[in-house]
């Protein structure tokens, strides 16, 4: 499935990557393996990054801010035209789920490596997507909106089932939210919620939805060729999050039995099939402790954590994206998709976990990526580069693959330990503490896991002898200190602190 295809008949011979950092490098790798020309656009802040160095052609773009330049679709399309790019790969983030951009690319006669504009549009609107999926017969979290029909709100809320969460429609910040575990108290709680909403927001209208305690986030990779071919490429467990962002993803999910796995993956494939999906995509679910799961959203693009799927299936997802965009059919069925082993991705962030995961910046003075069997390092930074506050603080992804989960965790710990990045604080030590936690080891995590265990993020006590070692290394590397020691005449130095 990942054999190098014959690209001679493809409608494009070059691909412009409308992205930066590690994902630009990742896409360029497959593009260049196919013998296609790889082009990137870059902002001046990214000059000297791995993607720019690796690309066959790099075109500078400008903007009010570095981020704005990567969001400037017109400029990127102009760059594509100027370089003769036949296709544009948007990566993730930036313009990857922007319907207007997709349309403009296609209008310019350039292939958009992604879904159709309609699919972006449908899945981009959370409410529409939810309604569509519900109507198509797939599970969405039960909910009731008072505005839909105020007279039946209580009744409809009762149907949502316990436990449920009542929220003021106008609300935010947790104010006026009430969890109802006993439906006998429903009406009473609704009244309280209403009065709180009135008090806080001057608006008593309410909304309620099924409350899922300690939910997991499980997503399923799908592939569609837009010509009827749709497969799933198994799930990814993405429950470990901080500040609502995933930091560790793995596959298979430790939460799923074979039956549940089959069920959730087929559900995802069914949703993709129902829209005739083209491209790689990800269907995200919220997963409850009783094994119940509900559709959350669908990302119609390559996902950050796609490598774990690649590692256990051998499928190059970028290659599949390119093939489909070139008009090829998948050419394989669900039965051909097999998985082997266990893979975990660690997002290496430039951030200080102990200070509320605040981003850090700094030069990349030394970078020794980890090496070894089953270790994959997807990164856009190079030694000598700089981590700035201009972009997302994710600087690399470390993917480890082992025969089973325990093996993968052990490999992950070793690889994190071997990851040397000096000049800018990263979360590698935090990630090691995280994966050493008994709950993680047993796979018993949920999206609130890190909030419930803040000690994992806290700066640990220095191990004995560490401070001395650090001070020794630092003192010996600091000229003013070394100079003073060196300036002492040999004899006096040899006498040490002698006093008479």
């Amino acid at each position: 499935m990942s054999a190098v295809p014959d690209t001679s008949q493809w409608p494009f011979k070059s691909v412009l990557v409308a992205n930066r950092g590690e994902i630009a490098v990742r896409v360029l790798r497959t593009v260049q393996q196919l013998g296609l020309k790889g082009i990137v656009v870059y902002h001046a802040a990214d000059r000297g990054t791995a993607a720019v160095k690796m690309a066959d052609e790099a075109i500078e773009i400008t903007g009010a801010t570095p981020v704005a330049s990567y969001l400037d679709g017109a400029q990127i399309i102009a760059a594509a035209k100027a370089s003769g790019a036949g296709a544009i790969h948007p990566g993730y983030g930036f313009l990857s789920e922007n319907k207007g951009f997709c349309q403009a690319v296609e209008a310019a006669g350039i292939r958009f490596i992604g879904p159709t504009p309609e699919q972006i549009d449908l899945m981009g609107d959370k409410v529409r997507a939810r309604n569509f999926v519900e109507k198509a017969g797939f599970p969405v979290a039960p909910s009731a909106i008072e505005d839909d029909d105020p007279k039946t709100f209580v009744e409809r809320s009762r149907k949502v089932g316990a436990p449920l969460l009542i929220k003021p429609s106008a609300g935010g910040g947790g104010k006026g939210m009430r969890i109802v575990r006993d439906l006998a108290l429903l009406e009473q709680e609704i009244e309280r919620g209403r009065s709180e909403g009135q008090r806080y927001f001057g608006d008593g209208r309410l909304y309620c939805e099924r409350y899922i305690e300690n939910p997991r986030h499980i997503e399923v990779q799908v592939l569609g060729d837009g010509q009827g071919g749709v497969v799933h490429v198994f799930e990814r467990e993405c429950s470990v999050q901080r500040r609502f962002q995933k930091i560790v993803e793995e596959t298979p999910s430790p939460a799923l039995s074979p039956e549940l796995r089959e069920k959730i993956c087929e559900t995802a494939a069914g949703i993709a099939r129902s829209i005739g999906y083209r491209n790689a995509g990800t269907v995200e679910f919220i997963f409850g402790q009783q094994g119940e799961f509900y559709f959350l959203e669908m990302n119609t693009r390559l996902q950050v954590e796609h490598p774990v799927t690649e590692q256990i299936t051998g499928i190059d997802l970028v290659l599949q994206q390119l093939r489909v965009a070139a008009g090829e059919k998948l050419g394989f069925g669900q039965g051909d998709v097999k998985s082997k082993g266990h893979s975990i991705e660690f997002r290496i962030y430039a951030e200080d976990a102990a200070r509320g995961y605040t981003p850090t910046t700094g030069p990349v003075l030394v970078l020794h990526p980890p090496q070894g069997e089953g270790v994959r390092w997807d990164s856009g930074i190079l030694q000598g580069g700089e981590v700035t506050s201009a972009f997302d603080p994710m600087i690399a992804k470390l993917i480890v693959t082992g025969s089973d989960r325990a093996d993968a965790i052990a490999k992950g710990d070793a690889a994190l330990r071997d990851t040397v990045l000096l000049g800018c604080k990263t979360n590698t030590a935090f990630l090691r503490r995280l994966i050493a936690h008994p709950a993680f080891v047993s796979g018993d995590v949920h999206t609130g896991f890190l909030d419930a265990n803040p000690q994992i993020a806290a700066e640990p006590e220095l191990p004995g002898g560490t401070l001395q070692a650090l001070l020794a290394a630092s003192a010996l590397s600091t000229r003013p200190m070394r100079d003073i020691a060196d300036a002492v005449p040999d004899m006096h130095a040899a006498m040490g602190g002698w006093r008479n």
Binding site: D486, A487, V488, P489, M491, A493, M495, R499, N500
Partner: protein
């Protein structure tokens, strides 16, 4: 150069008894030092703490390079004077390493009488600055003094080697291009104001440091002017208006850090080149010195055993081993430095004196510094020796010692009596450094001898008057003389009077000499040149 073969029996009763005696003396010395350095009335310490001042020892530790030696000079100065109320003579002097440079440190001790200058304070300070001049060592002054102790002004003010000499010496240093930095940590009033005033650089602490010729009370009395300390001579006034001080500091710690950075700017001297090889510890344990030195000042011991415990590898090249054997002469290395050593093994005879003079000439020819290890009862007396010219032979040795161009270092190991003190480079003969061991004694003659001599004179006078004296009468004449003599020839007294640069625990001698030699080499060694040797 072969190793000295020690003949010491460390298991002998005599060795053990000596060791016990001398260890006790060393402990007594350390206890006295401890008291001098740290024992202060609580109110004096509280007063300094209230002023947010550090104690002088704390200041020193901040000033010195970490993990480097500090050779304190005359730690027991004034210990036997002023009823023992001015420990250390209210100041600390010594040689230490600051920013890698060998410097003399001159620090007032405000925990003693507010750092007032007593006569011996002045003597100790002048001596420290003499050492700076003789060895071209930069000086760091840590100024915190209440000024001259007025009741004793006559003994500290006007004479050649009194307070004015401090400032004169500062000017000499400046003329020689030897740099000085003052850190003004307290008030520098009247004469004291010239210490920073005559320094190349000075740092002053905001709030506690002040420099003025007359403090506010005196100004009020003289002119009726009402003025605060800060206005009159505080940190900001002097660093931004008068230019009397150079660097303002917010705290003592900062002031000392600035001073360290200033010293780091000093040019390092080109040292005199002498023979040197990689240092080696003595083969014999220095602690055995305690067992070598006899309990009785009159008892003889082999000075070669002492040499074996001071020099590199205990190796010694002896010159004229069979001639003039009461004076050992020879070469060794100490902390790598090639040195000539003259050490007494008995009274000086004609041949010993001639050998010594000759050897001093050899050392000067070869630019070899000389160490004198004193245990001398004097030159031999009597008809036979006078006929052989003991006086003129002794004169040759004294001539050679006096005109010596290479730096000399003297250690009072045991007895130092009569002209032997001179011939072996006593205090008057400008040794760069002179140290005393606790047991040592220095006087024109032995105490018993002196007391008997004085008693005899008295007895003869009375006999002429026809008076007969009973033994009790004789004792009454003799005993006070003996007591006074013993007190004033003891090392406790000599070091209190600053006839030396400090007492040393014998085991510290090797390091002290190493630091001394290293310091001395900052000054170029002149070509040998002598007066007339009486032949």
């Amino acid at each position: 150069m072969k190793r000295i073969e020690s003949k010491l029996n460390t298991a002998s009763a005599d060795f053990q008894a000596n060791a016990e005696h001398n260890r006790r003396l060393a402990e007594e010395f350390k206890a006295k030092q401890e008291a001098v350095r740290h024992r202060r009335p609580q109110r004096d310490i509280d007063r300094l703490r209230q002023q947010k001042k550090l104690l002088v020892r704390e200041r020193l530790e901040l000033l010195l390079d970490p993990g480097t030696p500090f050779m304190e000079l005359s730690s027991l100065a004034a210990n036997e004077a002023y009823d023992g109320e001015v420990p250390g003579a209210a100041c600390v002097t010594g040689i230490g390493i600051v920013s890698g440079r060998e410097v003399v440190i001159n620090a007032g001790d405000a925990s003693v009488k507010g750092g007032a200058w007593y006569p011996l304070t002045v003597k100790k300070t002048v001596r420290a600055l003499d050492i700076a001049i003789e060895n071209r060592l930069p000086v760091v002054h840590l100024c915190d003094s209440a000024g001259g102790f007025l009741p004793l002004q006559a003994d500290l003010f006007a004479d050649k080697y009194m307070a004015g000499r401090i400032f004169r010496n500062q000017c000499m240093l400046s003329k020689m291009g030897v740099q000085q930095v003052s850190v003004v940590l307290g008030h520098c009033t009247a004469g004291g104001a010239y210490v920073p005033g005559l320094s190349d650089y000075n740092v002053i602490v905001r709030g506690t440091g002040a420099i003025f010729l007359a403090g506010p009370p005196l100004v009020k009395a003289a002119t009726g002017e009402d003025v605060s300390v800060d206005e009159l001579g505080g940190c900001d006034m002097h660093t931004s208006v008068s230019g009397t001080a150079d660097y303002p500091a917010g705290s003592e710690e900062e002031a000392i850090a600035i001073a360290r950075d200033i010293v780091a700017q000093f040019k390092r001297p080109q040292k005199s080149h002498i023979e040197w090889q990689a240092p080696e510890s003595p083969y014999y344990d220095g602690r055995e010195l305690y067992g070598i030195l006899p309990r009785d000042i009159k008892a003889q011991f082999d000075m070669k055993e002492v040499i074996a415990r001071l020099v590199d590898g205990s190796r010694f090249h002896e010159y004229q081993p069979n001639y003039g054997k009461t004076l050992i002469c020879g070469y060794a290395h100490l902390w790598g430095y090639k040195v000539g050593i003259l050490a007494n093994n008995g009274v000086l005879f004609n041949d010993s004196a001639l050998k010594g003079a000759h050897f001093i000439e050899l050392c000067n020819q070869a630019r070899t510094p000389i160490i004198f290890l004193q245990n001398i009862t004097g030159f031999m007396v009597g008809k036979e020796y006078e006929r052989r010219g003991i006086t003129k032979d002794g004169a040759k040795m004294i001539m050679a010692v006096s005109n010596c161009e290479v730096p000399k270092f003297t250690v009072m190991c045991h007895g130092s009596f009569g002209a032997g003190n001179y011939g072996m480079s006593g205090r008057a003969f400008d040794s760069r450094f002179l140290f005393s061991w606790p047991q040592s004694q220095t006087s024109v003659m032995g105490a018993e001898q002196a007391a008997n001599t004085l008693a005899d004179v008295k007895i003869r006078q009375l006999a002429k008057q026809g008076k007969q004296l009973s033994q009790a009468d004789i004792d009454a004449i003799r005993d006070p003389v003996l007591g006074e003599f013993k007190r004033k020839q003891s090392a406790w007294y000599t070091t209190s009077e600053i006839w030396d640069d400090g007492m040393l625990d014998p085991v510290d001698t090797r390091n002290a000499l190493g630091i001394a030699i290293s310091a001395a080499l900052n000054t170029p060694i002149g070509d040998p040149r002598y007066g007339v040797f009486r032949m």
